[in-house]
Point group: C2
DNA sequence: ATATTTCATATATATAAACTAGGAATTAGA
DNA sequence: TCTAATTCCTAGTTTATATATATGAAATAT
């Protein structure tokens, strides 16, 4: 029951973009360096975000990425659903076979559905802006005081 | 973000034991057959439950397993924590390194902690008895009416 | 004694996660 | 128009984890 690096890296990239917004495009090179994440690996995660129009990009020299929307318009839920696939605790496709009623699987299904519901509700309630704010908080506590 | 077969099989074994309680020991052979799960694989899951005193067992002929407590005294949460390891969405041990403040990881940590909280609260709220009741419900809907 | 059962440990297979690599396509700026 | 910088595309590699199988020892009711 884990969130993979794919989802976590996607979030960190978006957080990084939110924190370094300057009106222009930000090169992946810089994000990868700041976040200490393999640039090549990030390149594989980006199409997922791009396909859902979470980013604006330009190629070529001086190219890079910026957020397509303001940070309060991204939820952690949507980002993780994109990168992790459905955030469902079990994949039940193919498991609904004759005899399932007797095995307890059917009764368990409602447990998994309920779990999926609370997970998604929680993750949908948090925006990128919330995380940036929290981040700022940490920064102040550690360095300014 | 998945619950593995290990956790689901453990739950199904315990549900099976709850439904077939008869005061005596129930052979794994029968459970495996009813649940259509590899007996050998179940044998590997059992020590986890046994170590936490969730089962009573005897070896030898006519041996087998029974629940150590009544079904309402097992929560789905405790069973999954045993079989899945901590039901934490990310493993952060070793990730707390210098520079973590700037990467957004620290701010994300509170997201994961919150997620962990809602997941555990939900799973702790469901007992084995709840599932058996739900199971009974299904059975009645499908066969008796 | 014997058949039955759990217990312990080792091995195998398949799948997915987590990267790495090479180069094509695009673009700003000289 | 050339060059350097950058994203985009696709394939391959490595490592870890999930999901089992296999073999046989230890225990026990009959």
């Amino acid at each position: 029951m884990k969130i993979s690096t794919k989802g976590r890296y996607a979030l960190r990239m978006l957080i990084d973009l939110a924190e370094h917004q300057n009106g222009g495009y930000i090169a992946l090179k810089d994000i990868a360096k700041r976040q200490n994440i393999s640039k090549k690996y990030l390149e594989q995660i980006i199409p997922i975000l791009n396909g859902a129009d979470l980013l604006r990009t330009t190629r070529g020299a001086q190219g890079g990425y910026m957020l397509a929307k303001t940070p309060e318009n991204y939820t952690v839920g949507e980002i993780l659903r994109l990168t992790e696939g459905r955030i469902s605790p079990v994949d039940l496709s193919g498991e609904i076979t004759p005899g399932i009623e007797e095995t307890g699987e059917l009764a368990l299904m409602s447990v998994w559905q309920g779990l999926s519901r609370v997970v998604n509700e929680y993750l949908n309630s948090i925006t990128l802006q919330d995380i940036v704010d929290e981040q700022q908080q940490h920064y102040m506590n550690n360095y300014v005081i």
